[in-house]
Symmetry: C2
Subunit: 368 residues, 2 copies
Amino acid sequence: MKFAFNMPTKIISGRDVIISNYKIFSSLGKKAIIVTGRHSAEANGSLADVLSALKLAGVGYDIFNNIMSNPTIDIVYDGAKFAKEHGDDFVVAIGGGSPMDAAKAIALLAAQDISRESLFSGKYTDEILPMVFIPTTAGTGSEVTQYSILTNDELETKTTLSSPIMFPDYAFLDGKYMCSLGKNTTINTAIDALSHAIEGFLNKKANEMTAIYSEKAIRIISSLFKKIEENDLSLEDRDNLLFASTLAGIVISHTGTTAVHSMGYSLTYFKDIDHGRANGLLLGRYLEFLYDYIPDKVNEVLSFMNMNSVSEFKDKLDSLFGEKEKITKEEIVIFVGKALAAKNLQNSLIVPGNDDLIKILEDVFLGA
Amino acid sequence: MKFAFNMPTKIISGRDVIISNYKIFSSLGKKAIIVTGRHSAEANGSLADVLSALKLAGVGYDIFNNIMSNPTIDIVYDGAKFAKEHGDDFVVAIGGGSPMDAAKAIALLAAQDISRESLFSGKYTDEILPMVFIPTTAGTGSEVTQYSILTNDELETKTTLSSPIMFPDYAFLDGKYMCSLGKNTTINTAIDALSHAIEGFLNKKANEMTAIYSEKAIRIISSLFKKIEENDLSLEDRDNLLFASTLAGIVISHTGTTAVHSMGYSLTYFKDIDHGRANGLLLGRYLEFLYDYIPDKVNEVLSFMNMNSVSEFKDKLDSLFGEKEKITKEEIVIFVGKALAAKNLQNSLIVPGNDDLIKILEDVFLGA
């Protein structure tokens, strides 16, 4: 029974919780930097709700909405500079994984001077701006993790800042912001959450505590496969998917991810494939790889999904993701090199070697 | 999907975690007040491990081992005075619910001046000594709650201090300290944990998050009924019981307890019946009461225990607890009055009225 459990984020879930909890904003500071992307927060109503809450709280704000998908190191330094110039004393993040991850780095860099060379060292002082996070996809689970995953052009991959001080102080969960998500985004983010739950379960760092969340998240998400595929999710379904996504975030905050993410980063970095889709394209074949070594554990995961075989799971994912992108053998070699160098690869219960990774990627993209 | 989740305690579980994490002690202060009872911490090895860790950490300590079962208001004021006089700057609690609950109040009173009149007001400043908790029963779950339940002679019952600042900073979980617990103590504490999980499930404040923990805790504890009854628990079973007890503690930190505890306090206060036993004597009959109103919810709880009827559960509890104490009709009237006045009664999904409570207690103690 060996585990450590650390979940300092206060999670508040429910309809209109941002507005009903406006006093939380004034408890954190006088002026917020709202970190978000260009469009979605305005479109889905989350930005409006945050502005209403800030107004009720008598708190000022500045909007930094330059966060692109797969945020870069440059943008978080820009955001920190912006926050300091504007005298912002706490951070509100709204969006998917990109604004949320960027916001954690911004909160850190606005509070302490860290050079680019030291940025991924994990060696920081305790100083960081308070953070309130509102996920609008379901999702990366970033609202309950200590990770900030940034595009690293020098290493041609994504690398992770991580520190216990980087957990958001508050996470507000309201499924209504996800109602207008398109079918593909819904699929990509739901399968990202699923990959977190599964990779966190088939993980050296998995423990009795994380297993509880993994199982629950896998059960919820898989129970909604049909509705996700038919793009027929009710508001209650959206709430449940978000809940599962947050649970899966709690899992990976303890376990980290594994080989699927290690491989997936290259698909995103080099081929611009959405992060969740990248994971989803690899997840089934990876379970097939694991099945040769740890069939009981894989069967446990399948049982949570009421599935009888890895093929059944692969078929479901193929059905959700459709035609795959074109990747060449040469590209695969490069991606495998990146995966082998990724820290999270070592979390895998069975660590795929060079040949295993080549085979997995070739089977997925060049046909099995 | 309406809930708030707040679990600020860092939980560290595993064999010998106190000693391997000795640096945590030095991170919290220079001199600990160890709050515990007279004998068990010495007997079960927990005190020795704490002293070893403090020595490795270079941290001083004073031992305050006067905590009786069902700690009083006087003892916590004594403990706070002791801590202040000795210049202790953090609290280590070792034991069952009594030392742990007392320790929270001591940590509060050593840091701020609160009069007896204001003690249960919940209106405190933020100041409290840091706390490290080591449960040695499985248990009250106090290591992960913000509650300090004290004997209140003025009101002739138990009353609860509660504040978000009262969550322990750290909880160390190691089942080895429970190995020498006698059969009756094991039964009493296991069923206390079970009552937390069940009362937290059949509760107005239950939510999707607490339900996950309730279910897991109920499953674990009920799976060990036979071994508990035969006093045949392995070390691994002890770890699992402790884990379940902590999960149940997380439940009630969010939901509070219900009618079983409301009635149970009087059995403890007036008849000196152990807290866990008091709850266990009432739990089955209370589910029978609820079954008339919410059979589906009660059946859900029964399903977690792989049981088919409330009678089956009642029989199991009767078998665990044996012959009941003698209570008179007049005493029952008094106990019902206390229960009706208890705050936690209102958490019950169906709130028993005067006649319901009389009937429950009479059926349990005067024969059905």
